[in-house]
Subunit: 183 residues, 2 copies
DNA sequence: TGTATTTGTGCGTTATAGCATACATTGTTT
DNA sequence: AAACAATGTATGCTATAACGCACAAATACA
């Protein structure tokens, strides 16, 4: 169960060099059996052996680590509108896109019950929140001031400060998306 | 025996985030025991767990892989002028600096016996050889032409072609350094 | 067309990454 | 100072990365 398809990268580099597994094993000091399983994504190499590999190929480590948008395969539809996780009182949140180091952001969908307020702690420097209101209306608090948002409205702010969301309506829920970007 | 000190990097990132090992374990999904040994460079993480770590910290993978010039510690002197390895006929070579993916080059010292010729196969594209003659005199063959070099002379050429070195002198050895850069 | 030789993969064993738990140490509280 | 909570470390166990060897298929060679 590998999220990280480094094997494809290795196979390409090896073929490009015109090396056999035996040759690669000789140059890198890693057994060809292991190199084989790594290429087939059957095994997740340790940093130690990855170092040996990049050394043997006379290539920088980043070459094996970067450009790995190959294994994304999110082209199959995931249904998220059924499962809402993380039930705090009056606030339901579910993950639309979990954080992925290759992209640097994560996206939540959040439902605020009527007359509910949620305060959030400050995040690290370089974190940006992107609010998109889907339905209902809500308010976001930044630097002590509550800003009104209605369906379709968007808002971006630096999240390295305490902030909050609330739904002042007495009957209808508010739903919004929150894209959190980490730089 | 880790060449790759990724632990130091992790420790710094964790401290910078103000997280305890317990907190980090919770966020990343990696046990705090494991995080501990990784930080102490007692364990070389697999790419799989390194992915979990970078995900949990909301940081790109490159942050843990790059900027690792910390563990170089070549400030202790290695004596190389005694041990000459790789004895081909009439050619003695020793490694001054082995290839390191962080730098991208390796350096050899080569001794050519009198009246000796050595031919080398073409390397990959993007490989450069840097010749520095230390003592004696020698000739380097590029594109079929032999170029004369004497002590103190230097020469750089693209190594994606067959080339050769020879010492035409009848009595004295020739010694030169060869820095091979892989781009 | 047999016969080597080289290719990659499968198998059993060993080394080690990874986990859960318990422990010792330090810092906080009342 | 006693009691408490939080820190990072040490311990035993399980999962798996890594190895050496042997095998089957493909390729080269005669």
């Amino acid at each position: 169960m590998l999220k990280y398809e480094i094997g494809t990268q290795l196979k390409e580099i090896r073929h490009q060099a015109g090396w056999s597994l035996t040759r690669a094993a000789k140059e890198t000091g890693v057994s060809k059996a292991m190199l084989g399983q790594i290429e087939r994504n059957e095994s997740s190499p340790t940093m130690s052996t990855l170092w040996k590999i990049s050394t043997g190929f006379h290539k920088p480590l980043s070459l094996f680590v970067d450009n790995l948008l190959v294994g994304v395969d999110d082209d199959k539809v995931r249904s998220t509108h059924t499962t809402f996780t993380s039930h705090k009182q009056g606030l339901k949140a579910k993950i639309l896109f979990p954080f992925d180091p290759r992209f640097g952001f994560e996206v939540f969908a959040i439902k605020l019950s009527p007359e509910q307020t949620h305060l959030s702690e400050a995040h690290d420097k370089g974190v940006f929140e992107h609010i998109t209101v889907v339905s209902g209306q809500m308010e976001v608090c930044i630097k002590g001031r509550w800003k009104k948002l209605k369906a379709g409205d968007v808002l971006r702010f630096t999240a390295d400060q305490s902030h909050g969301y609330r739904n002042m309506n007495k009957t209808i829920h508010a739903e919004f998306h929150n894209l959190i970007y980490y730089s």
